[in-house]
């Protein structure tokens, strides 16, 4: 019984079975409705990539995100000054060849500060979203797949967390856990996983009834395998798109907290903190660089991630498939 059925299906049988066994030759394949030429062996991933590459805005976003990530990794090693080094003799300088973005109220090089801030922003953005995904995907998948009491409990849990006003909630959590970058991440994860969970739950709920899930069960797959191989891979696209959009939101949220003086220590050149320190100079002529630089940094980062997320959504959308 270990011999596969196919052992009997030698090509010789094709004759006996008559015209039913139409081996679609190259001709039929070329004419076949669902067999586009040139996509042979390329698979869905290649299709998705092709659509993404064709999206100009998405490629701009990808360029921005790539530059930001490279800056975050190598930035502090290549910036002209130490971002923390104060020089009280050289404060509030306008942009120049020595200091590209000028210096701040403590005489620190603003360009180096922005680059250091970038590292913080990317780190917090990615870690927060990664942890939110982990929690959201797990709880969402359990709620959607198990249903019943599991679903009820997880749904109420989500409601409780959603009931917190985000900013106030974050302040409370950071104050409770203590200062620094880690509490900020904890707070943002605690208040950010719910949408991911809901989204996942909805996707899983719909896919749980898919015929290919039943097909997997009919060949003896257990729940774990069904969720990991058949449900999640098909459910994950919109969740990932959402997560990517959310990176920008998280970065803005961290900046808002720092602007209010919560989270990272005061001497760290975090973007929100830099804006907050520049507030007294908002109406002072010639000092616009102080707030413009960090504000633009936040805006460009957020837009970059949003463009990529949009591109992902469009290239993953099955409705556009085969269209263009």
């Amino acid at each position: 019984m270990t011999t596969p059925t196919s052992a009997g299906g030698s090509p010789a049988d094709a004759d006996a079975t008559g015209s039913a066994m139409v081996l679609p030759g190259p001709d039929a394949a070329a004419g076949g409705t669902a067999v586009p030429l040139g996509s042979r062996g390329s698979g869905q991933f290649a299709d998705i990539r092709r659509r993404f590459v064709r999206n100009r805005l998405a490629m701009v976003g990808l360029a921005i995100v790539t530059v930001l990530i490279v800056l975050a990794i190598i930035g502090p090693y290549v910036t002209p000054y130490n971002a923390f080094e104060q020089n009280l003799a050289n404060t509030l300088q306008p942009p120049s060849a020595d200091h590209w973005f000028g210096t701040d109220v403590l005489g620190r090089d603003l360009f180096s500060g922005i680059v250091y801030g970038c590292r913080l922003a990317i780190l917090v953005g990615l870690l927060t979203v990664a942890f939110s995904l982990l929690i959201g995907l797990t709880l969402g998948a359990v709620a959607g797949f198990k249903g019943g009491a599991w679903d009820g409990i997880i749904a109420r849990f989500i409601d409780v967390f959603l009931a917190f006003p985000p900013l106030v909630g974050a302040i409370v959590i950071v104050r409770a856990v203590g200062g620094g970058v880690t509490p900020v991440i904890v707070a943002l994860v605690a208040l950010g996983w719910m949408t991911t969970a809901r989204l996942t739950r909805g996707q899983v709920l719909a896919l749980r009834e898919a015929e290919y899930v039943e097909a997997a069960r009919s060949i003896g797959a257990d729940n774990r395998r069904i969720v990991m191989r058949h449900v999640l891979p098909n459910a994950i696209a919109p969740v990932l798109v959402y997560a990517f959009t959310n990176i920008g939101v998280v970065i803005v949220a961290m900046a808002s907290l720092s602007y209010l003086g919560i989270g990272v220590p005061p001497d760290v050149p975090e973007w929100g903190r830099l804006i907050s320190q520049a507030t007294p100079f908002l109406r002072v002529e010639g000092k616009a660089h102080l707030w413009l630089a960090p504000a633009l940094a936040i805006a460009i980062t957020t837009l970059g991630f949003a463009f990529v997320a949009d591109g992902m959504r469009d290239s993953l959308d099955p409705k556009l498939r085969g269209g263009n």
């Binding site: 059925t5 090509p11 097909a215 003896g220």
Partner: protein, 695 residues
């Protein structure tokens, strides 16, 4: 309108005439010539059927008349549409709109999406009237109620105030027809009007359309893929392939003397319910072409057994079969086709087993299988307020190597029964034995191992394959889970067995056509030599020519590997072709079970008789003399089935009984009893009796 009358319009030749219509779509993959030079006409009181497989362009030409084809992306390189001699497409947009819905109306395939869910049905019909006629609100509403009454909706005054979701499928289609008839159109375009409906409801709708046509002298354009429907209802037939007309003529001419190779191929791939010995199906090989890359010359030549160089050279023109005849074809080899069509068909291979089917041991024994779905309410604390009795005591057995078909209309529980047998749904009670082993008692891990012996092929080839896995991954998963050696030749051999090229192994499901995907699904089911395979409507989502390919494949696999099939179907023609035994289900229970020929030729249960009589036979000569039993109403809600005999609310025989006998139907549920003393033919009816319904 009066202004037009002054220019004495010559008497138009036809009520509606389409001349040399071309509809092209600009897409990234090239120009899709959905309709490429099509002409047709229809006269008052006449039914023209436009027949073709999916992608043949049969719907597009009719949709164009109604302005339902968006432009862009569509372009119309040529074509004229004449309604009573006036050119429709040359009129100003506003005037065109006035004619659409008034002189030309349309019935769509899916009445649920065609009716607006947020307006009452009566309001929607009244709206339709008021757009085209100068009548008051109240008068329009009154007319709407009358129309609902005319299309046979009981209690029309109440029904007019309901929303579409409160209507059943058949009722909705009636409401759609009422709406289409609201302005007494001269031409009614029916695009697959009954495809979404059950066969007994289809019979109701078609007889309604015929009655209305006779009363109003309406011209009907019937667009369909169902040749049985065409044989029963069309006056003239136009066959389309790849955007062009390949053959047209009177109903009888097309069915008895086709002259185009495609028409002949289509007719040869049909399963027929009225044939005592099924003949081997002769499917058309290959698949319909992609309309962006239609083959040169005759578009059908790559699939055509008669093709010669002349066919590849240029597009053949429509020519009369004999000079002056309205039967025209666009085939280079009409004489060869004629000879081939008159040749008797090869009989199906006879299963030459050592022991006859009825003496072999049963492979599957199902005893008193029950599956009830609880109806629960409440968010946190769930209370059970009722049960949907989807399967309510099904007993059957299937002999080794044979096929039992479970037939019935949607909602009768046939699919649920099959899933309960496989324990894909946990049965509420009852036992299932496979090869003498009780499946219902197995633990989850034992059950997983037992799945090796019992497999399923699903209905929807688009939904049953994981879109993110390649064919190789899909097939290897089974070996991974159920323990089997995957060698380098396993997957290629498996693909070859189901008639797919081994090179396809690394493709994703979306790169295949429906028929090819179904072959992948079959390959998954037959890998590792199962004993028993459930075929859940395996061909109902496929085009006729592809259906025949897959049916032949299933028969060949059964012979080769000695498979036992449970075939779930609503299409009785297919059932007659493939089954050894047939069980008819109604509302969760089996009402009749018998060997195939006995069931079709000597049905005893009134429901079986109605079901068989409702299926049109693709032969106009047979159809003309057949009497149809038209059932009233719809299948009752299985959560609240009628007392006694569940079929009595729709039973034609029940109506003819005396009051005492009627009471028996209402009070006493019938059980399966041998029909006329034959143990292999059992029927569940107090007043069972034979009735001829095939011819």
């Amino acid at each position: 309108m009066a202004r037009h009358d002054k220019a004495a319009v010559p008497q138009p030749a036809h009520l509606l005439e389409v001349q040399d219509l071309r509809v092209h779509f600009q897409t990234g993959g090239g120009v899709v010539k959905a309709v490429d030079g099509v002409s047709w006409h229809v006269d008052a009181g006449e039914t023209l059927a436009i027949v073709g497989e999916s992608g043949s362009g049969k719907s597009v030409s009719a949709m164009t008349l109604l302005g339902l084809v968006p432009s862009p992306p569509a372009t119309f390189p040529s074509g004229r549409v004449l309604l009573e001699g006036r050119s429709l497409l040359d009129m100003p947009e506003q005037q065109q709109r006035r004619l659409r819905g008034k002189d030309i109306a349309m019935i769509f395939q899916d009445p649920l999406t065609a009716l607006n869910p947020v307006f009452r049905v009566g309001e929607q019909i009244a709206e339709m009237i008021r757009v085209h006629q100068d009548v008051g609100k109240m008068a329009a509403k009154k007319r709407a109620v009358e129309l609902l009454d005319e299309v046979g909706i009981p209690d029309p005054r109440l029904r007019a105030t309901q929303y579409p979701h409160e209507f059943s499928g058949g009722m909705r289609q009636r409401a759609m027809i009422a709406m289409a008839l609201a302005n007494d159109p001269k031409v009614l375009i029916a695009d697959e009007p009954t495809t979404a409906l059950d066969v007994t409801v289809q019979a109701q709708i078609m007889s309604l359309l015929e009655k209305l046509q006779a009363e109003r002298d309406t011209a009907i354009v019937l667009i369909t893929h169902d040749l049985g429907l065409v044989a029963a209802h069309a006056d003239r037939i136009m066959v389309m392939y790849a955007g062009r007309v390949v053959e047209e003529g009177a109903n009888d001419e097309i069915f008895t003397a086709p002259r185009h190779a495609y028409t002949h191929g289509l007719l040869s791939s049909l399963t027929r319910m009225d044939h005592a010995r099924p003949e081997k199906l002769e499917p058309i090989p290959g698949q319909p072409p992609n309309l962006a890359r239609v083959p040169r010359g005759c578009a059908f030549h790559p699939r055509c057994p008669f093709a010669t160089d002349a066919c590849r050279a240029e597009v053949p023109l429509l020519v009369p079969t004999i000079p002056g005849s309205a039967h025209r074809h666009a085939c280079v080899h009409p004489d060869e086709v004629a000879v081939a069509h008159d040749r008797p068909r090869e009989p199906a291979p006879v299963v030459t087993a050592d022991t006859p089917v009825d003496e072999r041991a049963p492979m599957l024994e199902v005893h008193d299988l029950v599956k009830h779905f609880p109806i629960k309410v409440g968010t946190f604390v769930k209370r059970t307020v009722g049960e949907v009795k989807a399967v309510d005591g099904v007993t059957l057995d299937i002999t080794e190597g044979s096929t039992l078909s479970l037939v019935g209309e949607s909602g009768c529980g046939k699919s649920t029964a099959a899933r309960a047998i496989l324990r894909l749904h946990e049965p509420t009670s009852g036992t299932v034995e496979l090869g003498g082993r009780d499946v219902t008692g197995l633990s989850q891990s034992q059950l997983r191992a037992a799945r090796r012996d019992m497999q399923i092929v699903f209905q929807d080839p688009y939904a049953s394959l994981n879109p993110r896995m390649t064919v190789r991954q899909i097939l290897s998963e089974k070996y991974e889970l159920l323990g089997g050696q995957v060698t380098a030749s396993t997957i290629p051999d498996l693909l070859e067995t189901v008639g797919l090229a081994p090179e396809y192994a690394d493709r994703y499901p979306h790169e295949f056509s429906g028929g090819q995907r179904q072959r992948v699904g079959i390959a998954r089911a037959i890998a590792l030599n199962p004993k028993f395979v459930v075929l859940d409507e395996p061909v109902s989502a496929l085009d006729v020519s592809i259906q025949a390919q897959v049916l032949n494949l299933l028969e060949d696999l059964q012979q080769e590997f000695g498979l036992t099939y449970l075939f779930i179907a609503h299409d009785l023609s297919v059932v007659r072709h493939i089954s050894d035994r047939v069980a008819v289900m109604y509302l969760g229970g089996i009402v009749e079970i018998a060997d195939r020929d006995a069931l079709f030729e000597r049905p005893h249960h009134p429901y079986t008789q109605a079901l068989i009589s409702a299926v049109p036979i693709p032969d106009p000569a047979v159809e003309r003399s057949r009497e149809r039993i038209v059932l009233t109403g719809d299948v009752p809600n299985p959560a609240n089935p009628p007392s006694g005999c569940r079929f009595r609310t729709r039973c034609w025989k029940h109506l003819q009984l005396s009051d005492d006998d009627k009471r028996r139907c209402i009070e006493e549920p019938p059980t399966l009893q041998p029909a006329s003393g034959d143990d292999r033919h059992q029927v569940s009816c107090h007043f069972a009796g034979e009735r001829e319904v095939l011819r």
